[in-house]
Amino acid sequence: MMRKVIGILLIVLGLGYVFVSFDFLPAIGDSSAPAHKHVSDYYIENALKDTNSPNLVTAVLADYRGFDTLLETTVMFSAGVCVVMILGSKSPLRKRYLVPKEILKGKPYGGIPAYKTVNKDVMTTLIEILILLYAIYVLLHGEVGPGGGFQAGALIALAYIVNVMVAPDIKPLFKFTKINAVAAAGIGVFIYAFTGLLTMFAGGAFLEYGKLPFPIPENDLHPVGIMMIETGVAIGVMATIITILIAIIERVRFDDDRN
């Protein structure tokens, strides 16, 4: 009871604070707001010249703020490692079973749905391929249109999740073990950092794509560098999501699991 009062009080105070302080906040859509001045204008006007990437979000994400994205990918990787370490210890098998007793009491088949259609398996194979195609499109299209590495990684992971959660019986397109998934996340981060080191070896600063040691015109080097780090980010995010999924699925067993 006390908690609810405190909670409602907090909401009232918070909303009241907004009522008091909304004069500080700029009107939505006002193009002279402080957020749109200074560095944002510079990004919009010079991104094509500086980075040769029409998608401004990718230009900001991968080029101007490359360090930020590198550490963000590292955060994802360390989250995956964290999950593996938290759930890595051995525990008595009995404790791992989740038995939703109240729900299952009156139901036949022990919670497994009685309807069995072939539809689910067929549709999963179709949808998986479509999701993967779309993920590759989003990854390769990330410089000239909406898209990028994070989204592509999440989509590839979605294909895997659909496979594991919806249709565990059919043969998967690609399969990961927990160790492989963590290793893949590390490889993703490594590709990113290696791109930065490559520019350093060629005599530039860290992540200065114009100095990449490839025999192509300098104007094309920026898209190549951005594509390299986007691939790294996609692999890292995909592998991290799959790691979290596998780690939790291996540890927790529902009583309607097959094995």
Binding site: K4, G7, I8, L10, I11, G14, L15, Y17, V18, F22, L25, P26, I28, G29, D30, S31, A33, A35, H36, V39, S40, D41, Y43, I44, A47, L48, P54, N55, L56, V57, A59, V60, L61, R65, T69, E72, V75, M76, A79, G80, C82, V83, I86, L87, S91, K95, L98, V144, G145, P146, F150, A154, V237, T240, I241, I244, A247, I248, R251, V252
Partner: protein, 125 residues
């Protein structure tokens, strides 16, 4: 537009995002179930994301992908907020994953994710 309509168009989204934030905090404070607390934390993160994205909007502007012959900076939404929130979404996914892993361990140790149950069994351990 009348005054109130103008006010809602300019500042209304702030109330909605702050309401979402308060909803998340309320859920974290009041819910006794740790899973629901985690969901409340996610709602808070979403409210912060929407707040940032609405700050990045400009009236009559298009998405931040450059078009031929359109170089005016007022014609594009702010790309900075989009880039920042893109990474924030992914990091919120990572934190949720770690939270779920911790919940799994709590469930194994105490046999429940309800707060009262956990406190009751904590005395016995």
């Amino acid at each position: 537009m009348t005054g109130i309509e103008q006010f809602l168009a300019d500042k209304g989204i702030y109330f909605l995002t702050f309401f979402l934030l308060s909803l998340g905090i309320y859920g974290i404070i009041t819910c006794k179930n740790y899973m629901k607390k985690l969901i409340g934390m996610n709602i808070m993160q979403v409210s912060a994301i929407i707040f940032f994205l609405s700050l990045g909007q400009k009236k009559g502007a298009t998405i931040p992908v450059l078009l031929e012959g359109l170089t005016n900076s007022d014609a594009y939404n702010n790309p900075l907020t989009h880039a920042l929130m893109l990474t924030a979404i992914v990091v919120s996914l990572g934190t949720t994953g770690v939270g779920l892993a911790l919940l799994t361990r709590i469930k194994e140790k105490f046999g429940s994710v309800e707060e009262e149950e956990i406190i009751r069994r904590q005395d016995k351990l």
